[in-house]
Symmetry: C2
Subunit: 146 residues, 2 copies
DNA sequence: ATGATTATGATAATGAGTTGCAATTCCCTT
DNA sequence: AAGGGAATTGCAACTCATTATCATAATCAT
C-alpha cells in the first residue's frame, strides 16, 4: 500500500469513516494528475475514464484529503479552488503566469526564515502561508516581443 | 481635491466614463473605512448612512477602483473579496489570525528582494505578489492558554 | 439646453461549492 | 456468512458572492 493510501486510511479509521471504492479511486486518479487540479477537472477526467462518480463526491473527497493532511487547497485567483498533494512533498511556493496560466513551483529557505522572523516580531504563530508571485513567464514574454 | 479623487477622475476621463455622485460617495466612504473591507460591508455601511445605493453599483465601483490602480482585491480565504487602498500607500503583506480574523500588516524589504531574485532565476517578470501568513495572533494565543 | 452615451437600481442569472435525502455500501458483530 | 447500524453515494435543490440584463435616470460634450 502506498504511503498516501496509508495516511488516508489512518485518518479514516481515526474518525470512524469508511473506505469506499469511490474514495480509493479518487485518490488514485488524484495522485496521477497534474499537481494543481480543480474539482471539476478531476470530475471530468474520471467521467472520461468511465466512472459514474458524482461531482459532490469529488468535492467531499477532496475536502477529506485536506482534512487528512494529504492535500491542500489553493486559490490562484481564477475563481476555482485547486488541490495539491502536500504529504511527503517538499514545501514550495508558486509563480503564476497571468497570460498562459502556467504555474512554476519554487522553494526558498531564506524567504521562509524571514517569514518566521516577521512572525516572531509580531508575536504571531504561523500555521501555514501562501506566497504567490504573479506576472509573465519567459515563454510569454518572448511571444509578446515578437 | 484629494490625490485619490484625482487619480480616479483621470482614469474616468481617459476611458470615456462619467463622474457620478455614486462614485464620489463610494470613494469617500471607502477611504474612510477599515483597510480590508468587503463589498457587502461597504454596502451596509452606506445603507446605514442613509444612502439608497445598490449593491451592484458597489461591486461595479470597487472594480473601477481596481482598474484605476486605486485599490486591489484580496482573497483571505473566507469566500469574500476584500478591497484595499494601494494608491499612495506603501506596499505591505499580511498576517492573518485564523481564530479572531485580525489582519496585521507588515513590510519586509529583504523578502521583496528575494522574490525578485527568484523571479529572475525563473526568467519571470513579477507584476504583483501575495504573501499571507496564516496562524494565531498573540492575543488569541494568550486566551487559549488561560 | 439637448441628445448621445454611460450609469444606476432592481432583479434575474451565473457558477463554485454545499446540503438534504433516499437508496446503497461498508464493516462490525454475531 | 448474514444482519444491521452507521456512513456514503448520486442526484437535485440550495447557498452565497458576484455579474449580467434592462428599463430608467444622470452626465457631459456640443
Amino acid at each position: 500500500m502506498m504511503k498516501e493510501e496509508e495516511l488516508l486510511k489512518s485518518h479514516i479509521s481515526k474518525h470512524n469513516l469508511k473506505v469506499t471504492k469511490e474514495r480509493s479511486l479518487v485518490l488514485r486518479v488524484f495522485l496521477d494528475s497534474e499537481p494543481h487540479i480543480t474539482a471539476e477537472e478531476l470530475y471530468r477526467k474520471m467521467k472520461n475514464d468511465g466512472s459514474s462518480i458524482g461531482l459532490a463526491t469529488i468535492y467531499r473527497t477532496l475536502n477529506l484529503f485536506c482534512e487528512s493532511g494529504l492535500a491542500e487547497q489553493r486559490q490562484f485567483g481564477d475563481g476555482q479552488a485547486r488541490y495539491e498533494l502536500v504529504y511527503n512533498v517538499k514545501h514550495h511556493d508558486h509563480l503564476i503566469c497571468k497570460q498562459c496560466s502556467r504555474i512554476i513551483e519554487f522553494e526558498n529557505q531564506e524567504i521562509e526564515a524571514l517569514q518566521e522572523k516577521v512572525a516572531k516580531k509580531n508575536n504571531f504563530k504561523i500555521f501555514s502561508h501562501k506566497l504567490e508571485l504573479y506576472g509573465i513567464c519567459g515563454n510569454c514574454s518572448e511571444k509578446n516581443d515578437q
